[in-house]
């Protein structure tokens, strides 16, 4: 390794403006950068190139069913929490061609997509979303079957994580033990301080992107300030999820009256599954030309809140909102553990913020616990 690069697991301080050098190094290495940027009143994840694309001086205010951006007086690049987008839209695209078929003389030619997927560099991945990516890894790559489309994107991704410096009322990463500090699964993890970024090197690639960056070894002062920033975010976690009695609490309360109550509020709009960074369900669309000589299969994101999701001959297994909300919540917090050895919830709070009627997953579990079947 070049002598001017920090070793893996070292912490270094770098001038904030030199993050542009990191971006340039990543682009030179063939990465497509995606990161936070302001669009239509929200911080979303899109292709970015320059530091100017980041939401400098913006912060967010999140409550159940409520999201607003506000100006801050500080010149921070990452002074906000997760927005409506998550990284699954890049790793597990919501619309993906599986293959095309051409019919010729009675036989067919099946062609999987030929173009390689983009090599993404994710800029500003929060700890909860790192946990979400690790969960989708288990779902889509961790069993006897492997999703090659996910794997092709996932295996070459560069992860630049950012430790949260604040938390919202919807955040509960601390109680889900996923954040606010990124503890692994990144190439580089930044903590934003007023004057510098403190950077933890997570991999060789993470060290390599600091080429030509004027870094210095982190001082005790830097490390202390950084850890206080993260502690503040942890203290600001606006809610908690009690998990020690899951999954049994939900399994034993499948007929709890709370399911009827929440069904009177839930619109079954599927927003929560769209913004959830771990929800992975898909369906397929079959399209063909008018002669039927060419066809394509396209995998599209689906939601257990859609009526037809459970369709079998004769009807839908889960025709009521009560049954669909119950399916979502028990899957997320209970059966996910049996299926994949991990909860399906990372405590990011997106489902609470983006629920149009402000249903809070934490409150629903509390309500079931309060009058649980014995």
């Amino acid at each position: 390794m070049a002598p001017n690069l920090p070793r893996v697991s070292a912490s270094v301080a770098m001038p904030k403006a030199s993050l542009q050098v990191v971006f340039d190094n990543l682009r030179a290495a063939g990465y497509l950068l995606v990161g936070p940027t302001v669009r239509e009143g929200a911080i979303v994840l899109e292709e970015i190139e320059r530091l100017d694309d980041l939401p400098l001086g913006w912060t967010d205010e999140q409550r159940p069913g409520h999201y607003r951006l506000k100006r801050t007086r500080d010149s921070h690049y990452f002074d906000y929490d997760v927005g409506p987008h998550s990284w699954k839209q890049f790793l597990h695209p919501p619309r993906l061609k599986l293959f095309s078929v051409e019919k010729n003389n009675g036989s067919w030619t099946i062609r999987p997509p030929q173009e390689p997927p983009p090599r993404y560099a994710f800029i500003g991945v929060r700890a909860c979303d790192l946990a979400a990516i690790a969960i989708q890894d288990r779902v889509l790559m961790g069993s006897e079957f492997r999703d090659p489309h996910y794997a092709a994107r996932r295996e070459q991704v560069f992860v630049l994580a950012v430790n949260c410096s604040k938390a919202n009322s919807t955040c509960f990463c601390a109680s889900m033990k996923t954040g606010p500090k990124a503890t692994g699964g990144f190439d580089l993890a930044l903590t934003e301080l007023p004057d510098v970024f403190l950077a933890e090197i997570g991999s060789e690639a993470g060290s390599e992107v600091l080429r030509n960056v004027p870094w210095e070894a982190a001082t005790a002062f830097d490390l202390g300030r950084a850890s206080r920033v993260i502690q503040r975010a942890e203290r600001q976690n606006g809610r908690q999820m009690q998990t020690d009695d899951l999954p049994d609490l939900l399994y034993e309360n499948l007929e709890h009256p709370r399911w009827d109550e929440v069904a009177t509020r839930c619109l079954s709009c599927a927003n929560c599954t769209l913004v959830c960074p771990t929800c992975f369900c898909t369906t397929v669309e079959d399209v063909s030309d008018l002669r039927g000589a060419r066809a394509e299969r396209i995998r599209v994101a689906d939601s257990c809140f859609n009526r037809d999701f459970s369709h079998v001959y004769g009807g839908n297994i889960r025709p009521t909102i009560r049954s669909r909300y119950r399916q979502w919540l028990t899957h997320k917090l209970a059966s996910w553990i049996d299926q994949f050895g991990t909860s399906g919830c990372v405590g990011c709070g997106r489902c609470i913020t983006w629920c149009p009627v402000g249903i809070e997953i934490t409150e629903e579990v509390n309500a079931i616990r309060a009058k649980a079947a014995q």
Binding site: G30, P112, R318, Q339
Partner: protein
């Protein structure tokens, strides 16, 4: 570019969602709106390699129409041939219904769990099927017949809505002769029907079972299976000895699409054949 940055090699990805080309070998009408399609892979190597166990299913694909999970209903000992008994119910199965011998079809599989035939050598077997639910049990029956002496008593309780809906009726006599006690009923008789009338669980009252050594394998509408389980438990057959085959919406068959979830189980992976003891907390829960 530095070697520190990984690049995925996307050549030859093994995609479990890609169908493999096969040809319809024969189409045999079984009942009203139901036929058995015998299918063989085009690639001889694939044909030779393919093996399935009783209870498993394939995904059948037609371009532009879609894909559907269909149980294997043929003899697992017959190498190279895959039988699928299909009821024309939705758009994909109706498109399959228009196929003729020589036509191309996409196949991937086999998927899912199997009937517990190896663990049950020496046991009495009580096979209970309703309607097209006999299709995934037929490979089990044929497998049992191929080593009939390895099992104790074998009973088949089978029923359908009307006599015209009964499957494989031409084979019952041979099954009976080779040592399976076949009992058949219909919900609604016509003027030619001389057999039993009533729902399938009522056939339990025509047979005696030894609860200490009987194993139940059932497939049919969920409401039927609920009452089959009820009758079995009433005869002190332990929950652990009851196996059911379940149906759910299925898009991928490999645990990615999420559609077939039934509590902690994916019907495509841990199922379709499930032990009742394992799923009892969820079975029969309204809209679950």
């Amino acid at each position: 570019m530095s070697t520190a940055f990984p690049v995925t090699d996307i050549r030859n990805p093994v995609d479990p969602m890609l169908p493999h080309l096969a040809t319809i070998q024969a189409v045999k009408p079984e009942a009203y709106g139901i036929s058995t399609f015998s299918v063989a892979f085009v690639d001889p190597e694939e044909r030779a390699r393919y093996r399935f166990q009783p209870g498993q299913f394939n995904m059948l694909y037609l371009p532009g129409a879609g894909e559907v999970a269909i149980s294997l209903s043929s003899d697992p000992g017959e190498s190279g041939m895959m039988g699928h008994t299909v009821r024309y119910a939705g758009s994909v199965t109706r498109a399959i219904g228009r196929l003729k011998p020589g036509d191309t079809i996409g196949v991937r599989g086999p998927y899912g769990s199997q009937w517990p035939l190896k663990k049950t050598l020496g046991h009495d077997l009580l096979i209970v099927a309703g309607g097209i639910g006999l299709a995934p049990l037929r490979p089990a029956i044929l497998s049992i017949l191929s080593q009939r002496d390895a099992y104790g008593r074998v009973l088949l309780l089978y029923g359908a809505r009307t006599p015209a809906d009964l499957l494989y009726t031409g084979e019952f006599e041979a099954w009976q002769r080779r040592g399976i006690d076949v009992h058949v009923t219909v919900d609604l008789a016509d003027e030619n029907w001389k057999g039993q009338v009533g729902v399938v669980p009522q056939l339990f009252y025509r047979v005696r079972v030894d609860h200490k050594k009987t194993l139940v394998m059932t497939c049919g509408p969920e409401i039927m299976m609920r009452f089959v389980i009820y009758e079995a438990l009433a005869r002190r057959i332990p929950k652990e000895s009851i196996f059911i085959s379940m149906e759910r919406n299925m898009k991928c068959a490999v645990g990615f699409c999420g559609h077939c979830q039934f509590g902690p189980t994916f019907i495509c992976k841990q199922g379709p054949v499930l032990n009742f003891a394992a799923i009892e907390p969820f079975f029969g829960k309204e809209d679950f």
